[in-house]
């Protein structure tokens, strides 16, 4: 019970602290206003020019032609500047020369396999910016699948089973890459060859959900806001030199862990609610797209809030000083933001993303909005929870010996 009271009062304290409100609510909203005004709802030239993708589509069936149509559509060109290559060797060469960031491969027999109800795959190979291409392709494929499923369910009233997934292909000698596998299987032979493609053809690029600049930056700015919350974590364990509050807290007949957890919970909830304010603001003022699974989005934000608070505590437990902890926290926020795609989706430090909570959160939130495959979501969720566990285990181990601080 004391934990909850401690959390409640910590929350109230933050609500009434004008400095905290400015940093975690007014500042990010100002940034979004600036970005929103600057982009006017569209992606910038820099944005679209930097995401260069190639495609190798020997498949002349409905899948190949559908994806080609998608990639050449004007709306998609705003996001992905794609170039056609006749072979993978050419695409790899172009990627090595820096002409493209990645390329999409749809093998020759993809349409035929799907028509025969066999598993088929669409691959994305590349060193960077695969997330954006992933988003576009996944959204497109899922739109097709969803329509197809809907058609099946309504027309045949038969359970329809879908399997699909994305695997990170670290064994690729050329580069780390992403691999999208999509397969549509019918548990019975009800579906007639070609039936699914009737729905496929009805899909136009305009039906595909695509993130506009404000959608993208709303999510990424929001994630940066959460990482800025590590300041709150640092403050939890920083001794206030002007106050003796730490003496009073230690004199209490209460475990330091009770007070610490209360503060962590209170600050995390405050951070989460500051995210909600940002989400509401971007949704109603800039009409940013938050039309996804709100439960997943909320869960991601609350977990990231806890990670951020824990990160602040962990950093301070190593530095034992406010200013260095703040500096390190800022650097981590900067690198994780850049690596996660907060500045521009084109500049990513892929290797850093393995330990980057912003990256995993971005994948999960975009996944919740743009229907990423389940395996992508599970992997990102696993990554996020692993980071959460590592941070709190480390912090607890470090704080075990601390007995005189502002907890």
């Amino acid at each position: 019970m004391k934990v909850l009271w401690s959390a409640y009062y910590e929350f109230i304290k933050n609500i009434r602290d004008i400095r905290v409100l400015f940093v975690l609510i007014a500042f990010p909203i100002s940034i979004i206003i600036l970005l929103g005004t600057a982009f006017d709802g569209n992606l910038t030239e820099d944005f679209k020019n930097r995401v260069k993708s190639g495609y190798v589509i020997p498949d002349n069936g409905q899948v190949g032609s559908g994806v080609k149509q998608l990639l050449e559509a004007d709306d998609i060109k705003k996001v992905i500047d794609s170039v056609s290559y006749s072979t993978e060797v050419e695409a790899i060469k172009a990627m090595d020369e820096g002409k493209i960031d990645n390329y999409i491969v749809i093998p020759e027999d993809t349409s035929r396999k799907l028509e025969n109800r066999q598993e088929a795959e669409i691959r994305i190979e590349g060193k960077k910016n695969i997330e954006l291409v992933n988003t576009v392709l996944n959204s497109y494929i899922y739109s097709n699948n969803a329509l197809s499923i809907a058609a099946k369910l309504t027309e045949n009233n038969i359970e329809y089973q879908e399997t699909n997934g994305v695997q990170i292909n670290n064994n690729n000698q050329e580069a780390n890459g992403a691999r999208i596998s999509n397969a549509i299987q019918n548990s019975n032979d009800i579906q007639k060859p070609g039936e699914i493609w009737e729905t496929f053809e009805r899909i136009t690029p305009a039906d595909t959900k695509l993130p506009e600049a404000i959608d993208y930056y709303s999510v990424l700015t929001l994630l940066q806001v959460v990482t800025m919350g590590s300041i709150l974590g640092i403050l939890i364990v920083t001794k206030n030199q002007e106050s003796n509050i730490h003496i009073r807290l230690y004199a209490l007949p209460t475990s330091k862990w009770t007070i610490l957890w209360g503060k962590v919970i209170g600050n995390s909830i405050f951070l989460f609610l500051s995210c909600v304010v940002t989400v509401i603001f971007t949704k109603f003022v800039y009409h940013a797209n938050w039309e996804g699974n709100l439960f997943i989005i909320g869960l991601v934000l609350i977990v990231l809030s806890f990670i951020s608070i824990g990160m602040g505590i962990m950093i301070h437990s190593f530095t034992n000083s406010f200013v260095p902890a703040l500096g390190i926290s800022f650097l981590i926020m900067l690198f994780s933001s850049v690596a996660g795609g907060a500045i521009t989706p084109a500049v990513t430090i892929q290797s850093l993303n393995i330990i980057n909570p912003i990256y995993y959160s971005k994948v999960l939130i975009f996944g919740a909005i743009y229907n990423y495959p389940g395996i992508v979501m599970y992997k990102a969720a696993g990554g996020l929870l692993a980071i959460l566990a590592v941070i709190y285990i480390t912090s607890i181990l470090k704080l075990r010996k601390v007995n005189y601080d502002n907890i």
Partner: protein, 309 residues
């Protein structure tokens, strides 16, 4: 004994903050802990509370060895830290309520206790104001209210009157007396000896982390009463007067400034003989004043320095 401290040593690196300290606090008394800045008072207080781990020795409170996890003891102690320990983001009522909750109070008991603490410190009328709207004295009083909300048996006050106006100081001193009358034992640290003299029944003097002396105020004064100070104002003065007075048996020191002669003499020596010597040497006395020893004199005598050095 409500507090027993035996052979306590606390070091910070090579520096010894508390050096082999042994003292005790009796139930129902106000014990003054006196010493200059850096004497080790706050370190000793923090050790008693359990915040600072001691290197050796034992501290027993209510008969139990004090430790960070001794919640029984902690529940019965109220701590008024040297600096303010209140949240400016909470109203006065919320501050007291918050700490009351963490002391385990709830429901009507909590409400009553918060009200009593605020009324006791004269802040009930300002309960809905934020502390940053308060004067320094009122903030200090709120600091005390947060420390007594759970009605502790032992209250430890670490220089609670530093930097406040005389009116608030008097209010706080009155509060300490009332708390003591209501049954609380008080450990009161200060480097204002007049506060200690006015409040405390017993005094412990510390310097450089060591116990210099402990006892009642009368006992301490008695300790240095083997000498007395006489202040004599003269109408006329010549150098031979000083030499003549210094020659009197029992006179330890004779200082003259602007025809004012300050003489330190043994308790056994005769004041009449000094007066006769002055008169015989042509001096005309206009005023004689015998100074009573103060705690400051005690401290000066024992440590060779003043409290506010």
């Amino acid at each position: 004994m409500i507090v027993e401290i035996k052979d306590v040593v606390k070091r910070y690196g090579d520096r010894i903050a508390v050096d082999n300290m042994t003292m005790s606090v009796r139930e129902g008394e106000i014990l003054g802990l006196l010493g200059p800045n850096g004497a080790g008072k706050t370190t000793l207080i923090n050790s008693i509370i359990g915040i600072t781990e001691i290197h050796s020795g034992t501290i027993k409170i209510f008969g139990q060895v004090m430790s960070q996890n001794n919640y029984f003891v902690k529940k019965n102690i109220g701590v008024v830290p040297q600096n303010l320990a209140i949240y400016n983001e909470f109203k006065a009522y919320e501050n007291v309520e918050y700490f009351g909750r963490l002391y385990g109070l709830k429901g009507q008991e909590l409400k009553d206790s918060v009200r009593q603490a605020l009324e006791f410190t004269g802040l009930w009328e300002r309960k809905n104001d934020y502390p940053n709207k308060f004067s320094g004295g009122m903030q200090r009083r709120l600091n005390i209210a947060c420390s007594i909300v759970h009605k502790p048996k032992l209250i430890i006050m670490d220089e609670p009157t530093v930097g406040i106006d005389p009116q608030s100081r008097n209010h706080i001193l009155d509060s300490v007396r009332k708390l003591n009358e209501m049954g609380s034992t008080v450990i009161y640290t200060s480097h204002y000896m007049e506060e200690i003299e006015a409040l405390c029944s017993r005094v412990v003097i510390m310097d450089n982390g060591r116990l210099i002396i402990q006892g009642t105020i009368d006992e301490l004064k008695e300790y240095i009463q083997d000498e007395q100070v006489v202040d004599i104002v003269l109408k006329n003065y010549n150098y031979s007067l000083t030499e003549a007075v210094k020659a009197v048996h029992g006179v330890k020191e004779c200082l003259v400034e602007n025809r004012r002669m300050k003489i330190v003499l043994d308790k056994s020596s005769s004041l009449a003989r000094i007066i006769n010597t002055i008169v015989e040497n042509g001096g005309i006395i206009t005023k004689i004043n015998m100074e009573e020893a103060s705690l400051e004199d005690v401290f000066l005598e024992l440590t060779g320095k003043r409290l506010r050095d």
